[in-house]
């Protein structure tokens, strides 16, 4: 099957800055890929390059096997939802949603019908005549989504689709989006700075930093086997440490950890769930903070020797901040990165 999107060594240069640095990426029809990275990592520029809003300084963008070089933005048949929506202030909701269909020269009655359907789809039935300036943040996001879906793009690009929404609104919209992508069989590339949104939205997640893709995997695989300390950090994973491996064992400030693989320097990851409270444990420290998360509580423990550790312990036995504790790391639970 021809991939819907094919990026080959795509680079974008702004004056001195290489914003996107030789990215390769394939997205299959119907697949949802999320790019996660800190702000300024080049992820928005990557989207703009695919849409044709910024010229490539090197590489190729192919859609359905056709090189898009020289094809203007308005002829690429992609949809882009902007970070802060960019709704047209001089048009009402229907005028915004129906804009793309009008550009295709559709009949007014057909546009009206499509707008009604789309507004139902995004959960804003009957909002046609409302002014976009009166909408709340979440409603604006939904109108922007309906607007980008209206012309039935073969590829939908989402730039921080959950933007500045608050937690509950985000979670609801993530679920709605995920359902919508599946129902409509959409091909989507979304960029976000929030790894939780990325995991919840996408079939595959790409970690991006400094203009490069560091790793692309399914959410579960990415979480379990981050390719580097940087990827683990981007995903918000704590307890990463550099160590020397000899004969399957790594000597670390947290003690000897059993890991597989060849001898040599390695980056290790200890999951917070694998750190246990144990009165006879080898590691002594003081609880700095304890964050209750329902079933378990996340402890930040400052050790008498070595870098601090994060531990997830059952909430029923969680000590209070300031308590002196002893910890041990479950054998054979450290993951070797890369």
């Amino acid at each position: 099957m021809t991939p819907r999107v094919e990026l080959e060594a795509v680079s974008v240069r702004y004056d001195e800055l290489l914003a996107v640095d030789g990215i390769d990426l394939e997205v299959q029809p119907g697949e949802v890929v999320a790019v996660v990275g800190p702000s300024g990592c080049g992820k928005s520029t990557l989207l703009r390059a695919v849409a044709g809003l910024v010229p490539l300084s090197a590489g190729r963008v192919c859609l359905d096997g056709v090189d898009q070089e020289g094809i203007a933005v308005h002829r690429r048949g992609v949809g882009l939802m902007f970070q802060d929506q960019a709704l047209f202030p001089h048009r009402d909701v229907a005028g915004n949603v129906g804009f793309g269909l009008r550009m295709q020269g559709r009949a007014a009655s057909e546009i009206a019908r499509a707008v009604t359907e789309l507004l139902d789809l995004v959960g804003l039935p009957g909002a046609q005549r409302r002014s976009v300036a009166e909408l709340s943040g979440g409603e604006q996001q939904r109108v922007a989504l309906a607007r980008s879906l209206a012309p039935s793009p073969r590829l939908l690009l989402l730039d921080e689709p959950l933007g500045a929404l608050d937690r509950t609104l985000r979670e609801r919209l993530v679920a709605d989006l995920r359902g919508l992508f599946g129902d409509l069989g959409l091909t989507v590339v979304a960029v976000t700075h929030d790894q939780e949104d990325a995991f919840a939205l996408a079939d595959r997640v790409a970690a991006m930093d400094g203009g490069r893709l560091l790793q692309i995997e399914t959410p579960a695989a990415l979480w379990d086997r981050p390719a580097s300390a940087r990827v683990a950090e981007l995903l918000g994973q704590p307890n990463v440490i550099e160590a020397e491996v000899r004969g399957g064992t790594a000597a670390t400030p947290w003690g000897a950890l059993t890991v597989g693989g060849p001898d040599g320097p390695a980056t290790l990851l200890v999951r917070p769930a694998a750190v246990r409270l144990d009165p006879r444990g080898p590691l002594a420290g003081t609880v700095r903070t304890a964050r209750f998360r329902g079933q378990h509580t996340t402890l930040h423990v400052e050790l008498t020797a070595g870098p601090p550790l994060q531990a997830d312990v059952p909430s029923s036995s969680a000590p209070a901040p300031g308590s002196a504790v002893r910890l041990r790391i479950e054998p054979s639970t450290a993951a070797r990165l890369g």
Binding site: A72, V73, H74, R75, V78, A86, F88, H90, Q104, S131
Partner: protein
């Protein structure tokens, strides 16, 4: 790189027209005033300044200008701050209507304000007290005129200050008064300072109100400049006065700019707060008292103006209105007063066209230029705003005699009005044009609009609408423009404000009645122009211009 140079070149191209216009009809006249004021018999000297400062009459004028501006500002704040509180914090039936009405006085021409207070406080007023010619009439009329400045500037910030901050202070043990003084007042201070400075600036350069209400004894610098030019023909003294006033206004504008910048740095948490209904009897009394005060200050004078235009002795009649169409003796008018309406409309249309075309070009250039160049342009294009209108008109008289004598040309009037209206056009259009950011165009392109279609669908409608709003303001300003027009209008082609001024300066009930009738017409025309275009603005436009003008 070529893109950036291209952009700079196109910005310069857009600016060519407005800059040439301002150079010819603003900079050149002002330069002539400087020359006239600083040049003695034997080259450049400061002799003129010495003469002016040594003249006790002119010293008295300068002192009066200063203290009446301070007193007017104090009175305006005292009346308008409570009103701003009520409109920002309380919900009541008809609040939106009251908010719209409160802005009307500010857009009214100064001669309308002047006549309204002649009608209310003059010898034949309904109150039976004659304050005409006293400083009280001037102060009250100034409060009427600038009330909206304070309500909109301060109220606009007040409604964004979360009442929870004051509640937090109360919970922490502050009395209501302490909470207001320690929490709300400091947060409002930049807005109050800004509103006070603007009010001071307007009343410092007040012309129409003082001329109509001040009688022969009260004159601001602006009125004195006019008197020296038109009555005494002493151009050197007028030039020196104009320069002194320019310097004072410049200092005020610099202060205003500083306050505005500090305001931009405010760290107070701002979010639209909910208004609530008054709960206690005390709150109800407070809201009621303020609404009554607003009605008395802002509505009564305008109602009385219209009422007095129909007043005939002890009864009512249409004699004043009928006389507008007649050639009346003793007014110094060579034609029926009604002809001035035609003149005013013709001039205002031309002035509006000139101001909107040139102002639109300048706004387009400003919207494209960012950085230091843009900031300098911003100030240059606003300069005429800080220069008094009489000064502009006076500059026309002394500058435009060579090489071609344009002074007798009736079309100078709309050109001067365009100079006065231009900064308002630029101020109205620039934020809207800036708000057409690249992303709107990109969004349209992604949705399938070709570059030409993007221009038609995005740029054009937004430009047209902001142009329409600017045109409404420019039209209202030109219709009511008094200072420059009074100086340069020819006797055979006067505008409505000029005729009102002449009629009020003559004895006779019929003359005054005609002045009131003409003022009523002018009031309705300007209010209609402004309210009409206000409807064309969307909530977004208003937000992007900070609700002002």
């Amino acid at each position: 790189m070529t893109g950036r140079w291209g952009q700079r070149a196109s910005a310069l191209g857009l600016l060519a027209g407005p800059v040439l216009f301002l150079a010819l009809f603003f900079a050149w006249p002002v330069a002539n005033i400087v020359g006239e004021g600083l040049r003695g018999d034997r080259g450049w000297d400061l002799q003129g300044f010495g003469d002016v400062i040594g003249d006790p009459h002119l010293r008295a004028v300068a002192w009066f200008t200063l203290w009446q501006a301070a007193a007017s500002t104090t009175l305006t704040l005292a009346l308008a701050l409570p009103a701003a509180h009520v409109l920002a914090r309380y919900e009541f039936r008809g609040r939106r209507a009251v908010q719209a009405l409160v802005t009307v006085p500010f857009v009214l021409p100064t001669v309308v304000v002047g006549s309204a207070f002649v009608a209310l406080l003059g010898p034949r007023g309904p109150l039976g007290i004659d304050l005409d010619g006293t400083v009280w009439a001037i102060l009250i009329a100034h409060a009427f005129f600038n009330h909206a400045v304070v309500v909109r500037t301060v109220g606009g910030l007040w409604e964004l200050i979360d009442p929870a901050t004051e509640e937090a202070a109360r919970v922490l043990g502050a009395s209501p008064w302490q909470a207001a003084r320690r929490v709300t007042l400091p947060a409002l201070r930049p807005a109050i300072a800004s509103a006070a400075l603007i009010t001071f600036l307007f009343t410092f350069t007040s012309f129409g109100v003082v001329r109509l209400l001040g009688g022969p004894t009260h004159a601001t610098l602006e009125v004195e400049i006019y008197r020296q030019t038109a009555d005494l023909l002493d151009l050197p003294v007028a030039s020196v006065l104009a320069l002194l006033q320019l310097a004072a206004v410049g200092a005020l504008l610099v202060a205003q700019e500083k306050v505005a910048r500090r305001w931009a740095g405010t760290a107070f948490p701002l979010r639209p707060a909910d208004r609530r209904r008054s709960r206690t009897g005390r709150e109800r009394a407070w809201v009621g008292a303020n609404l009554t005060a607003m009605a008395i200050l802002l509505v009564v004078p305008l109602v009385v103006l219209v009422e007095r235009s129909f007043r005939m002795g002890e009864g009512y009649g249409l004699a004043s209105w009928r006389a507008l169409g007649d050639r009346t003796r003793g007014t110094g008018l060579s034609a029926p007063a009604l002809e001035a309406v035609g003149n005013s409309l013709r001039f205002a249309v031309v002035a509006t066209l000139v101001a909107v075309v040139l102002g639109g070009l300048a706004a387009a250039a400003l919207a494209r230029s960012t950085g230091p160049v843009g900031r300098v342009l911003d100030v240059v294009l606003l300069l005429p705003l800080g220069t008094s209108a009489v000064t502009v008109g006076f500059g026309f008289i002394i500058a435009l005699d060579e090489p071609v004598d344009l002074r007798a040309n009736p079309w100078l009037v709309p050109l001067a009005q365009a100079v006065v209206a231009l900064p308002f056009v630029v101020r109205t259009m620039t934020p809207v044009l800036r708000s057409i950011d690249g992303r709107l165009r990109e969004a349209a392109a992604v949705l399938g609009a070709s570059p030409r279609r993007v221009w038609r669908e995005i740029d054009l409608p937004l430009v047209l609408r902001s142009g329409l709003v600017a045109a409404g303001f420019a039209f209202a300003i030109s219709l009511g423009e008094f200072g420059a027009t009074r100086v340069i209008a020819r006797a055979d082609a006067p505008t409505v404000p000029v005729v009102i001024d002449r009629l009020l300066g003559r004895p006779g009930v019929l003359n005054v009645g005609q002045a009131f009738a003409l003022s009523s017409i002018l009031m309705v025309a300007t209010a209609a122009a402004v309210l009409l275009v206000d409807r064309a603005r969307t909530a977004t436009d208003r937000r992007s211009t900070g609700g002002w003008p």
